[in-house]
Structures are given as structure tokens and as C-alpha cells.
């Protein structure tokens, strides 16, 4: 191995290139200047994307990581640059997304003196990262970066922060990349464990009469899509997914019931409540999917396959807990599963299915465009084949209900943290992996305005993304709660928007406005011919409500369904009280 004298800044680039990184999302500043200076030498190997805000950089790294399965990298300066990353790191933490955030820090000699743009980001990042490092010795730099990538992508993936003082970036040493096997004494991603569970698992499945598979994000993270479908098909087990599990199993498959939980499909929730066996695959029984824990699936035995042991028995007590990689477990278990058709159980579920389909909002003839219709049209227009990045709110739930995903990693959304403003930057990040796929951002008028400055990044990078703004003039989901639980006392939920068409034009992209159902597909066709980013504003019905809904803390089967009169009157909805 040749020794080379390299600066800390050069070592940073050498190491991340070794990790296979070819795109970095960041924003320069005082304490990270040496690293940006060194970037000039590595420009042929790494593409740097200049964001408009450091939060955007973290979401881009996150979107890239979710789309590709690789580690995303974000870079920022110290102080405000670093604190702006906290929301992005927390988003990645809650959704187990592997990102590495590299921040500059004031010189090691002045750390602790409240120097200009100094902040203890290593400490501040503790609760929102898998781990955080402060590099105080250049000898530790390469080992730390290597360790950080390893920690970010293994086990349950997550964000890792590396804080590097300016003098460490300027210092230089003889650089040798550490090649040995990496062993961290305090870190044990699960290995292939004992196989004691196989017969118990198989027996529970084979003896169950009303089993349901709960497919979470772990199905995607473990690349276990085929194994989960094999289990389901062999034993005819219906599958319902979490929000982040969407795409892990094909939505068009007859055994796939769709999403569960607060805004999940009612038949999926009924199936869970009525089941005698739940097979939880890489999910964590979040309060948004369980509703009231005391009445959650009361008669079922529960199997939980989860890579993070601290998730087991955290919210729901299970009968068989398997702390291991999901794909590995199912490869062991599937050969022991007996073929069954479970006709009786599937018929019961179809009954529920039929009932709620009649309440579907798509049956309503509304004079105004509905958000749900727009999303269904986008699904039709893209033949279900696009990469969708949704934001947070009503449109996110409508997307989950009305866009059917058949392929893994075709829906990226902020599930756990529910970070408004995630979608636009995440889509820009994802576009660096999905170069040939059509990409659609589905975003509300509230969410887009949280990170709207990233339109500039999208233009500068000529990112091939289409932005569909579902504009109902409200912070829709909050308004829905005010409507349902606060007696329609709307407090600060009406929100104004800029002229999005002009805004798009100001940024130099094509902007369109659509307010009728007939124009959705033709406008989409126009947009698809553009290269680079385009924007469509959909003016939709203001008072649309996402049904069904399980109120927070209510029993999972106590869903509020769309009222029959809304469906029967075919859109002749009573005029809702207008808000001043």
C-alpha cells in the first residue's frame, strides 16, 4: 500500500469515494472551506449538489438513500449549517434511512469558547442520530469515516453525523486506507441466528385460520419482497402494509389489502382486528397503525420479525419474537409452510372490501376537482410506474390510498417523523439514482412552501422531476382535525399561496395550472415532454376529508367512514361554512 501525504480535507473525499459515493448534497461555509477547496481535485469522481438550505441537503441525501438503498451524504458548515440538519437527521432516524452528515467545526483549539458559528452538534445530534462523532485527531479521521458508513448502513440503518474541526481538515498525514475487517465491540448487527424458531413459526402459521401479514419498511430494507410474497402465496395469507411498507408487496396482487392504520383501508383494519395470527415483518407497531393498544387485534397470536431488538415488545406484546434479518428468517421458514387456500377467511375480507368500496370518494361526481381524483389520474397517467415522493398531510394519505405501487422503492415519504417539506428535496436526491424513471412529487400547498427554495436546486441541477401541488388553500390535515374534533373552529389553517405558475417561470421552469378533471392527463402529457423540472398546480376542493379515519387513540376497528349522504348525493355536498 502506497503511503501518500494527504490533508484531512482530501482524506474526507478519498474515504467517501471508497464508500462508493458519487454524489454529495451540501452547502459550503467557513469551517468546511478546506473540504470544499479539496473538492476541486475530486470533481471527476464526486458530483456536488448545491442546495438552498442544509435541511434540503439532508432530505436529498435521505431521498437518494431511500431510492437507491445506498448511503446518502450531506455536508454543511458548523453552527447554523449544522443545526439546520437536525430535522433531516431526525427524519432519517425515524424512517431508518442510511445517511452520513459531515459538518465542519471550529478549530479544535477554540472548541468550547462559543466561537463564531460554533455549536456542539455532536451533542445536539445524540437523540436524532444512530451515532455522532467528533474527530479531534487526524489519525482518527479515516477510521471514523469508515466506521460511520458501516454504522449507517448495517443493522437497522440510520443517520450518522461526523463533525470535523477546521484544523483537522487542514492538517495532513501519511494516508493509508484501513483495509482490515471492521469490528466494533459495542455494535452487533444480527447475524444468522439459531434456527429454533422455524418449527414454532411454521406451526403457528399452519394452524392459524385467520392470519394477516403486516409488511413494514423492513421488507424493503431487508430486500425481502420475494420472500414475503412467497409466504403469503403459499399459505394464502392477506397482506397489509404500513405507510413505509408500500411497494414492498405489489398493490395489484389479490392478497394485498393495502395500507393499515389511521387512514388505512377499512377492510385491512378489520382483518387485523379479527385475525387469529399477525405476522409482523419489519414494522414497529407505531401508534398510527395500532390505534388503541388495549383493544388492538385482541384475539391474535403475534409473530414479530424485527432487526432492532428494542422494538420487540415495545408497544405490542408478541408471542414469538425473532430478532434477525427478515429475508433470512423467511428463507428458513417458507419451506415448512403448508399450502392452504383459506377461502373462508379471504371471503370474509372481500365482504368488508365490497362495503367500503361503495363509499369511495371516486364514486362522487364533484363539480370541483378532488385531490383523490388527481392522484388516481397521476397513477393512470404514469401507468403506476413512476417514483412517487409524497409529502406530509392529506395528499400523503390520498397518495397511499389511490396510487397503487407494484414495485419496491417507488414511494418515498416521511412516515415516522412526518416532516413537512420533505418531498421536493427528497425527490431531487432520488433523481440522482433513478435517472431514467419518471419522478413525481406529490405535495400540498402547505408542505411545498416549507422547502420551496429547493426549486432553485432542481433548476440548477436540471433534475428530472415533476411537481404536482395539490392546492386546497388549507393545511388540509390539520383542518380536517379541526373540522372533526374541534367543531370546525379553524385556527390558522387557511394558507395563501404564491402564483405557482409565475413562481415556476421565475425559477425558469414550466408551470401549469389545472382545475378540472379532463385537463389532468393532457397536462401530464405536456409535462412529460419537458426535460428537467416542471410544476403543475392542481386547484382542488377545499373541504375534502380523508376517509376512513381512526381518531387518535380510538380502537382500530372504530373507523369514521365517509357518510353515506355524501356518496348518495353524488357530490351535492352541503355548502360548508366558509371561513373568513
Amino acid at each position: 500500500m502506497n503511503k501518500r501525504k494527504l490533508s484531512g480535507a482530501e482524506i474526507i473525499w478519498e474515504c467517501i469515494i471508497r464508500e462508493g459515493v458519487d454524489v454529495v448534497f451540501g452547502y459550503p461555509g467557513g469551517t468546511i472551506l478546506p473540504t470544499y477547496d479539496a473538492l476541486n481535485k475530486y470533481k471527476d469522481k464526486v458530483h456536488h449538489v448545491l442546495t438552498r438550505h442544509e435541511q434540503g441537503a439532508t432530505h436529498m441525501a435521505d431521498g437518494y438513500a431511500r431510492a437507491s438503498g445506498k448511503v446518502g451524504v450531506a455536508m454543511a458548515t458548523s453552527g447554523p449549517g449544522a443545526t439546520n440538519m437536525i430535522t433531516g437527521m431526525a427524519t432519517a432516524m425515524m424512517d431508518s434511512s442510511p445517511i452520513v452528515c459531515i459538518t465542519g467545526q471550529v478549530s479544535s483549539s477554540v472548541i468550547g469558547s462559543d466561537a463564531f458559528q460554533e455549536i456542539d452538534i455532536t451533542g445536539a445530534a445524540i437523540p436524532v442520530t444512530k451515532h455522532s462523532y467528533l474527530v479531534m485527531d487526524i489519525d482518527e479521521l479515516a477510521p471514523t469515516i469508515r466506521e460511520a458508513f458501516y454504522v449507517a448502513r448495517t443493522g437497522r440503518p440510520g443517520p450518522v453525523l461526523i463533525d470535523i474541526p477546521k484544523d483537522i481538515q487542514n492538517d495532513s498525514i501519511d494516508y493509508i486506507y484501513p483495509e482490515d475487517e471492521l469490528i466494533l465491540p459495542g455494535y452487533h448487527p444480527p447475524e444468522d441466528i439459531s434456527e429454533d424458531y422455524i418449527s414454532k413459526f411454521a406451526t403457528m402459521v399452519n394452524q392459524a385460520e385467520k392470519p394477516v401479514i403486516l409488511a413494514g419498511h423492513g421488507v424493503l430494507l431487508s430486500n425481502a419482497c420475494i420472500e414475503v410474497m412467497e409466504l403469503a402465496e403459499k399459505s394464502s395469507i392477506p397482506i397489509t402494509t404500513t405507510l413505509l411498507g408500500i411497494g414492498g408487496v405489489p398493490d395489484s396482487h389479490p392478497l394485498v389489502l393495502g395500507m393499515m392504520g389511521m387512514h388505512g383501508e377499512s377492510w385491512a383494519n378489520h382483518a387485523i382486528q379479527d385475525a387469529d395470527l399477525l405476522i409482523a415483518c419489519g414494522m414497529r407497531f407505531d401508534d398510527r397503525v395500532t390505534g388503541n393498544l388495549k383493544t388492538y387485534s385482541p384475539n391474535s397470536k403475534k409473530i414479530h420479525i424485527e432487526i432492532d431488538p428494542s422494538e420487540i415488545n415495545k408497544n405490542v406484546k408478541v408471542d414469538l419474537a425473532i430478532h434477525a434479518d427478515l429475508g433470512t428468517v423467511l428463507r428458513h421458514v417458507n419451506p415448512h409452510i403448508i399450502k392452504l387456500d383459506r377461502k373462508k377467511w379471504l371471503d370474509i375480507i372481500s365482504g368488508w372490501h365490497h362495503d367500503s368500496k361503495r363509499r369511495d370518494i371516486l364514486n362522487i361526481k364533484s363539480d370541483k376537482l378532488l385531490g383523490a381524483q388527481v392522484i388516481r389520474k397521476i397513477w393512470e397517467g404514469t401507468k403506476g410506474d413512476a417514483l412517487i415522493i409524497s409529502d406530509v398531510g392529506q395528499h400523503q394519505m390520498l397518495e397511499a390510498q389511490y396510487y397503487k405501487h407494484d414495485d419496491p422503492r417507488t414511494l418515498l415519504t416521511s412516515g415516522g417523523l412526518g416532516t413537512m417539506g420533505f418531498s421536493l428535496p427528497a425527490a431531487i436526491g432520488a433523481s440522482f439514482h433513478e435517472k431514467d424513471r419518471e419522478i413525481w412529487v406529490i405535495v400540498g400547498d402547505g408542505s411545498i412552501q416549507m422547502t420551496i427554495m429547493e426549486l432553485g436546486t432542481a433548476m440548477q441541477e436540471n433534475a428530472n422531476i415533476n411537481i404536482a401541488i395539490i392546492n386546497n388553500g388549507y393545511l388540509g390535515m390539520v383542518r380536517q382535525w379541526q373540522q372533526m374534533f374541534y367543531d370546525s373552529r379553524y385556527a390558522e389553517t387557511p394558507i395563501s399561496s404564491p402564483n405557482y405558475v409565475k413562481l415556476a417561470e421565475a425559477y425558469g421552469m414550466n408551470g401549469y395550472r389545472v382545475d378540472s378533471l379532463e385537463n389532468v392527463i393532457p397536462t401530464m402529457e405536456k409535462v412529460r415532454k419537458n426535460s428537467g423540472p416542471s410544476l403543475i398546480e392542481f386547484k382542488v376542493e377545499e373541504h375534502e376529508i380523508v376517509y376512513p379515519m381512526v381518531p387518535a387513540g380510538a380502537d382500530l376497528h372504530e373507523m369514521i367512514q365517509r357518510p353515506w349522504d355524501e356518496v348518495n348525493n353524488n357530490g351535492q355536498k352541503q355548502e360548508k361554512e366558509k371561513v373568513k
Binding site: 451533542g123 445524540i126 451515532h131 484501513p178 482490515d180 469490528i183 466494533l184 465491540p185 428494542s310 415488545n313
Partner: protein, 183 residues
């Protein structure tokens, strides 16, 4: 019921705040926390006492602490035969008349006088938390000027080697060498 944890962590700056921050994040209360060096360089051993009666939650805090990269191992001493002890210093004001009585109490509760003059004495107490507690109670008859308590420390009884972090010693490499070379 209290839960006593023995936590082995990497001895490095900020590790205490990682542990305490994580416990706070998970909504547990720390009753006491003692940290110190061990027989192995590079490893800090903590005894953390939590006030959490729920068994499921007790298991959760152990599992979630183990997920931290700096944590080598966590042992729930509540679950196994172990010795849990506390140390305290108590400064008592005395006058000539009361001195004999204080000394009587001292004999009853097994404590040492480590400093004393006409006005005040510093007493050193060790034992189970309850013993220390009752000794302090007994001394409260007199004017207690100051108390400092260590918090509880735990050690597993018997074959304690089984309750130590398992570190891979076979393949030394750059990342672990700085820890392992001290073994």
C-alpha cells in the same frame, strides 16, 4: 420497584451524556448513576438505577441502551444475584453532651469517623442503600450539616466473568486496537 443496571461503555468524551440523554429520551428517570474506570483501560463501568416498576419497560430500556454504539454491554443486576452497595459521607454537628450518643449510634451502624472536632464530625457510611438510609435517619436526631451519597454500585455475585462484555479479541484491527490493546 427499582431497576439496577450495570452498563459497560467505551471510555471517551461525551459517553456519559449519550447514556443519560438516551435514558431521558426513552422517558425513564435516573435515580442514581455512578461511573468510573474499571480493571480494563478504555472501558468505563456505570451503575444506573432507574425507577421503573414495569417489567416490559425494564426490558425495553436494556435493549435500547444496547443499541448505542458506545455501549459494550448492559446487565440487569435486578434480575440476577448481585451485591448492590452505596457509600455516603455525613457531617453532623455535635456538642460535648451529645458526643457519647453519636458514638453509640456509630457503633450500631458500622460507620467510620473520618474527621472530628468539638463542633462537627464527618462519618463514613457504607452498605445496602437501606442501611445507609436508616443510619442517616438515626443521625437526624442530631444536626446534620451535609450529606453526600455516591448512588448505588452493583457487582454480580459468583462467577462474574460470565457477566462481562464479550469483545472479539481474535482479530485486532485499527478500529478496535485502541480499546483492545489495553486488555
Amino acid at each position: 420497584m427499582k431497576q439496577t443496571l450495570i452498563v459497560f461503555v467505551q471510555d471517551e468524551p461525551g459517553v456519559l451524556s449519550r447514556i443519560s440523554s438516551h435514558i431521558r429520551k426513552r422517558n425513564f428517570n435516573i435515580e442514581s448513576l455512578v461511573a468510573g474506570r474499571t480493571e480494563k483501560k478504555g472501558i468505563t463501568r456505570m451503575t444506573v438505577v432507574l425507577n421503573e416498576p414495569d417489567k416490559t419497560k425494564q426490558q425495553f430500556v436494556v435493549n435500547s441502551l444496547k443499541q448505542l454504539i458506545d455501549v459494550y454491554d448492559v446487565i440487569d443486576a435486578t434480575e440476577i444475584d448481585s451485591f448492590i452497595r452505596e457509600y455516603a459521607l455525613v457531617k453532623v454537628a455535635v456538642n460535648e453532651d451529645g458526643k457519647d450518643e453519636v458514638i453509640k449510634i456509630i457503633e450500631q451502624v458500622h460507620c467510620n469517623v473520618i474527621d472530628g472536632n468539638e463542633d462537627a464530625m464527618i462519618l463514613e457510611l457504607t452498605g445496602y442503600e437501606k442501611e445507609v438510609e436508616s443510619a442517616i435517619k438515626a443521625l437526624e436526631k442530631y444536626e446534620v450539616l451535609e450529606i453526600v451519597r455516591s448512588g448505588e454500585m452493583a457487582m454480580v455475585a459468583g462467577n462474574f466473568v460470565a457477566h462481562k462484555p464479550e469483545l472479539t479479541k481474535s482479530e485486532l484491527n485499527w478500529s478496535t486496537s485502541r480499546i483492545l490493546e489495553s486488555f
